[in-house]
């Protein structure tokens, strides 16, 4: 059987069969093209959706930053010296004067301690990018690095 494979064809194939073969080849190319196109469209749609989602999240983040700033400014206004003084007076408090101040010795009391500001809202700088590489790769890069790249395959097998 092996020898027969290399023998030249003695007779030309029937025209109908040749036509069928050609149609199949064309269809195979078309189907392959469609598969690639569908995959590309799916990939593009996914990326675009994620891009829009990221845009929305970015706006949401900005909105939240502004809201937080608003809350802080409201707290600052509500606890301003003028507001606190008015509230205290309304509640019947009076400022202690030197004449009526009394001092008690409390063992171990070291007085008012300074607040720790290092825990404030300033975040530490980001070292790693937050966006995964898949969102910024082209289709070719994605295929090459994740599917066709043999180094990547060997590493994943080794793992």
């Amino acid at each position: 059987m092996t020898i027969l494979r290399f023998l030249p064809q003695a007779y030309q194939q029937a025209p109908g069969r040749i036509l069928k073969q050609r149609v199949v080849i064309v269809l195979a190319v078309v189907v392959a093209g469609l598969v690639i196109a569908i995959f590309y469209l799916w990939y593009a749609e996914q990326t675009a959706s994620n891009g829009i989602a990221i845009e929305n999240l970015k706006r949401r983040k900005e909105d939240l930053v502004n809201q937080i700033a608003n809350y802080h400014s409201k707290i600052a206004s509500l606890s301003s010296e003028e507001a606190m003084k008015k509230r205290a007076e309304k509640m019947g408090f009076i400022l202690v004067s030197l004449e009526n101040a009394q001092y008690l010795v409390l063992p171990g009391y070291i007085g008012r301690s300074a607040p720790d500001f290092s825990q404030n809202n300033n975040p530490a700088p980001r070292e790693q990018p937050e966006l995964e590489a898949a969102y910024t790769q082209s289709l070719w890069d994605l295929l090459w690095k994740n599917i066709l790249n043999t180094d990547a395959l060997q590493i994943s097998r080794a793992e």
Partner: protein, 600 residues
């Protein structure tokens, strides 16, 4: 056959050559910088747009974490001219909700949409209003929805149907000062109508503008949503913790305002400093402004009025300067506290006659008596005993004629004439010894006298206690500027000044239960026009510190042109009132209680 083969070869060669040239050109374009720049420019123009992210401006706190300056969300309102259906509706809504001028808004909203930048008047968007708060925006949003429903119900796209289409708004952060005018001269302000054109003026806002602002980041944002870009992590600007105590500041401002009003003074300044660290606990000026209304600056600070008199105004200090003369003489050893000077009420120094403030002769006086009676003649004699070289050397060491380099924008200095200057005369030595012919700022005087209060060490004054950056706190270290006198001299002089106060120099400055050192000052005001001094007007001042065995505060008071002209009757009571408040606010028990705890 040969011909046709050669022709084929020729055509093939041509095609090959063309292909090779194309490839060569492609490689050239890929590697040529000018083509790369061109590609980048085209990409920037048609593929993406620049977008600048402005970091949130850092917060300013007082020493206990009370907020003095922060940001709040406000909105810019504008119109997208392409979408405007009814400019009249927009104008009437904005005038009723926000009080804007109808005609002004109507004119802007009626502008013809013209996107072509090459035409004479391109117009796409018009800014209408800024600094609109969120609650007003909620009202506008509700109205916009109602109008849209109405148009839908009427099924009308007529220009006469009410519509807020085209009206748009977007948020940004604006600086606000919740304490309004409190410590306004020290904080300064950040003026920004739009986010991109903000500028800081005066105080810590100007001095620390770079670190408060942070670093804005500009990136090219692609139009294509599937081309996702990593957004940089834009860190907010650093925050500042000031040395001032909000409660002390507020109390000092109230005391100063009352004093200015009571004495009908032109202006007043009161500064409280920790003499051991140089931390400014309060810096009060009688002229202040609500920092949220910074646009009123020119109406409040008219002419050449300095924004912060404590660092921006110089004056002839008068008798408070005698502290420095006496410190130099004691340190040099030319006099001792018990040295007796027979005051005849007159002395001549460099050809200029010097009299006492009361034009009387006080007879034999020790150095405490000279300070207690604030004798010009005695201090001029002390300066002559000290000799001009030593006197001016000490004054230089005290920093007279030099900036203190306090961390505030706008510190000024008046040149101090010394024997090395051509315009110095022998008579200057006598005048300078009791604070005439020399000009200082309040902060300069406080810094110099801090050496007497702080065992001879002169500390650098500062208003920023810590900088908070990237979640880390960086504290400002205490900086010793100079040690002009020995610690023994400082303690001796402190005790002399306390005694002179107790024996009657300015009893109104005394506070029961606390031993305090201090000195009054009544200084004539130079009259530049007549090359002399103004009549019947003075600068009344007082500088003091306590408790003298462990100084926790230094207070400087200056009232300009008060109705009662003497420092002992005008400024000393203000000092006394300030100290009565300070000891309570700073939890400083009376001396007997404190000493019984430390030496049981």
């Amino acid at each position: 056959m040969l011909n046709s083969f050669s022709r084929l070869k020729f055509v093939g060669s041509c095609f090959s050559l063309f292909g090779l040239l194309t490839i060569g050109k492609m490689i050239y374009i890929q590697n040529d910088s000018s083509y790369r720049d061109l590609a980048q420019r085209l990409e920037n123009k048609f593929y993406s747009a620049p977008w600048t992210i402005y970091p949130e401006r850092g917060t300013i706190y007082d020493r206990w974490g009370k907020i003095l300056a922060i940001n709040q969300e406000v909105y810019e309102i504008g119109v997208n001219l392409e979408n405007v259906d009814n400019p009249g509706s927009i104008a009437s809504v904005l005038s009723s909700v926000l009080g804007a001028k109808y005609q002004d808004i109507y004119d802007k909203a009626s502008t013809k949409y013209q996107p072509d930048l090459n035409k004479q008047y391109p117009a796409v968007y018009y800014r209408l209003l800024d600094s609109v708060t969120r609650d007003k925006i909620d009202v506008l949003q509700e109205l916009q929805d109602d109008y849209a429903k109405l148009r839908q119900t009427l099924n009308s796209s007529s220009e006469e149907t009410p519509s807020l289409n085209g009206l748009t708004w977007h948020p940004y952060l604006q600086r606000i000062y919740p304490e309004k005018s409190l410590a306004s001269n020290l904080i300064g302000f950040y003026a920004a109508r739009w986010q991109e054109d903000g500028q800081a003026f005066y105080g810590v806002e100007e001095k620390y503008n770079d670190i408060l602002t942070g670093t804005p980041v500009t990136l090219q944002l692609p139009f294509d949503p599937k081309d996702v870009t990593e957004l940089p992590n834009v860190l907010p600007g650093a925050s500042l913790v000031l040395t001032i105590d909000r409660e002390i500041q507020a109390n000092m401002e109230r005391i100063l305002d009352d004093a200015v009003k009571l004495n009908r003074a032109e202006s007043g300044t009161l500064v409280v400093m920790d003499p051991k660290t140089g931390e400014i606990l309060a810096m009060a000026n009688s002229t202040r402004m609500d920092l949220n209304e910074y646009y009123k600056l020119a109406d409040i600070f008219t002419g050449t009025a300095p924004y912060n008199r404590a660092i921006g105004a110089t004056y002839e200090p008068g008798s408070v300067f005698k502290i420095l003369t006496m410190a130099a003489a004691l340190d040099k050893g030319v006099v001792k506290p018990g040295t007796v000077y027979v005051d005849e009420g007159y002395i001549n120094v460099g050809g200029a006659p010097i009299h006492n403030w009361d034009y009387l002769a006080h007879g034999p006086q020790d150095m405490v008596g000279c300070l207690q009676n604030s004798l010009n003649v005695c201090l001029a004699w002390v300066a002559t005993e000290l000799k001009k070289e030593s006197f001016y050397s000490y004054m230089q060491a005290f920093g007279i004629g030099h900036r203190t380099k306090i961390d505030l924008a706008g510190e000024v200095v008046y040149p101090f004439r010394t024997p090395a200057d051509s315009n110095w005369y022998e008579a200057d030595l006598g005048a300078n010894s009791y604070g005439q012919g020399v000009s200082v700022t309040p902060i300069q005087l406080l810094t110099a006298v801090s050496a007497v209060a702080n065992d001879g060490k002169m500390v650098k004054p500062h208003v920023v206690k810590s900088v908070i950056d990237n979640g880390r706190q960086y504290n400002t270290p205490v900086e010793i500027l100079n040690t002009p006198i020995q610690s023994t001299t400082a303690r001796t002089l402190s005790s002399m000044l306390a005694t002179s106060l107790e024996q009657g120099e300015a009893t109104k400055a005394l506070v029961p239960g606390y031993r305090i050192a201090g000195k009054t000052g009544t200084a004539s005001i130079p009259d530049a026009a007549n090359n002399g001094y103004l009549k019947d007007v003075t600068n009344a001042s007082f500088i003091g510190w306590g408790p003298i065995d462990d100084p926790r505060f230094m207070v400087f008071v200056w009232l300009e042109k008060p109705e009662g002209i003497w420092g002992s009757t005008v400024a000393a009571p203000v000092f006394g009132e300030a100290v009565k408040n300070l000891v309570v606010l700073m939890d400083i028990p009376p001396d007997d209680v404190r000493l019984s705890v430390s030496n049981p």
